[in-house]
């Protein structure tokens, strides 16, 4: 089942890449990074939503499964946020000749990356009991999410050098973007799923070795 999910995700991404390189090319060549940048941005935000839901779920009923989902989504989200910022910087350098500038969208993407980074650091540096640590991380996840609407609002509504949407010339370009989006979202789901079950086995092993 999971293997199928990954196969589908990678297949979609390959089709999207093929379209992006052939019929769906966007005029100045550097703009094609959009096909990687936008889906990763969406996934970085989606992972935070998953993190929020898992955190609330954990505080709600204290089931360990929620906590594992929260860790998994933070790890996946960190990867997507890193790719989001890296591709954004490459594009910005090619298009506007600067690596980074404090415009709302760029600042808020950086904040998103920092939130994930601090969450992962907090995960490994708390010394208390497992449940207490999980609770504190869940609280951080919820409070950190209060910053995320800002990221979203700034990406859609505020005046910025960063444009909220491209006008596409052909259906092929839209298709390439949409396929890339679907593939990346599936990949994110698969990664969270895989990591959760790995953490679960890890925990069971620990319980058997050190009861």
């Amino acid at each position: 089942m999971r293997r199928l999910l990954f196969a589908l995700a990678i297949g979609l991404l390959m089709v999207s890449t093929y379209l992006g390189l052939t019929t769906g090319q966007i005029a100045p060549v550097q703009r094609n990074i959009l096909y990687a940048h936008v889906p990763n941005a969406v996934c970085a935000l989606l992972c935070f939503v998953v993190l929020l839901i898992a955190s609330i779920g954990y505080l709600g009923n204290g089931r360990q499964g929620w906590d594992l989902v929260a860790i998994a989504s933070a790890e996946a989200g960190f990867v997507f946020a890193t790719i989001l910022n890296a591709t954004g910087m490459i594009f910005s350098r090619a298009e506007w000749n600067i690596w980074w500038t404090p415009s709302p969208r760029l600042v808020s993407s950086a904040i998103l990356w920092f939130l994930y980074a601090v969450y992962l650091i907090l995960r490994v540096s708390l010394p208390g009991s497992r449940h207490r640590n999980a609770r504190i991380c869940a609280v951080f996840g919820i409070i950190a999410f209060l910053d995320v609407p800002l990221v979203f609002i700034s990406a859609r509504f505020l005046p910025d050098i960063h444009r909220p949407n491209f006008s596409f010339d052909s259906g092929w370009q839209t298709a390439a973007l949409m396929l890339g989006m679907a593939g990346t979202v599936l990949l994110a789901g698969g990664l969270i799923w895989l990591r959760t079950s790995l953490l679960h086995s890890n925990l069971k092993l620990e319980e058997e070795l050190f009861p």
Binding site: S103, F114, L126, P127, V139, F140, I143
Partner: protein, 239 residues
Amino acid sequence: MKDFWLGLRAIVIKDIVVELRAKQVLPTMIVLGMLIVFILRMASESSSTSAGAPVMGAAALWIAFLFSGLLAQERSFAAEQQNGCIDGLLLAPLDPGTIYLAKLVANVVMLSIFELIVVPIGLISFDLHVGGRWPQLLAVLLLGNLGISSVGTLFSAAVQLTRTRGSLLSIVVLVILMPMLIPASFALLVLFGAMPEQVGGTGSLAFVGSFRAALGYLLAFDAVFVVACWLLFPVVIQE
């Protein structure tokens, strides 16, 4: 309601009396704040007469508030760890939320005393002029103070047991306060005359728009942070 006020008052007075007698953290805070202001003043020597001074001044003040505030917040629950004071506090017939609010008030008072001393020093050393807008300056400082203290007080209770307490608290608090510091620094820049009242354009400060909007953002951040931290505090404090 009466119990709430009594409990709140008792904890706030206890914290402030302990600090006044032991003088453990307030002197450290003030000296750290002064050092930050002076180091940034030395580093910006060439910008004393140009337009750069207000910019550096506003940045210096916010950095000083953040880091000195962290000292006060770290202290507020670390002190309770000695001799198991925290257990006594939790056993008291009080809502955990009240403990949070009392600690928050104590931290806001500490940071306010700190600001009373460090802000004039910052104004003098960077040669800043607010042009008679003292009430506005006071409002910005108080709102910023409340925002910094709210998040810091919650996570101070959370990370109290860790070996790397101070550094962990600082990254957690700074990353959550990052968005709040955009309108906060905008407001100080306007007051010091480094920015016009209304700004358009595409920078991250320009998106705040106007001084009035900056105050609105600060108020909104404070309200959201205080309510969220107050609601989540019982979860953090239970063993």
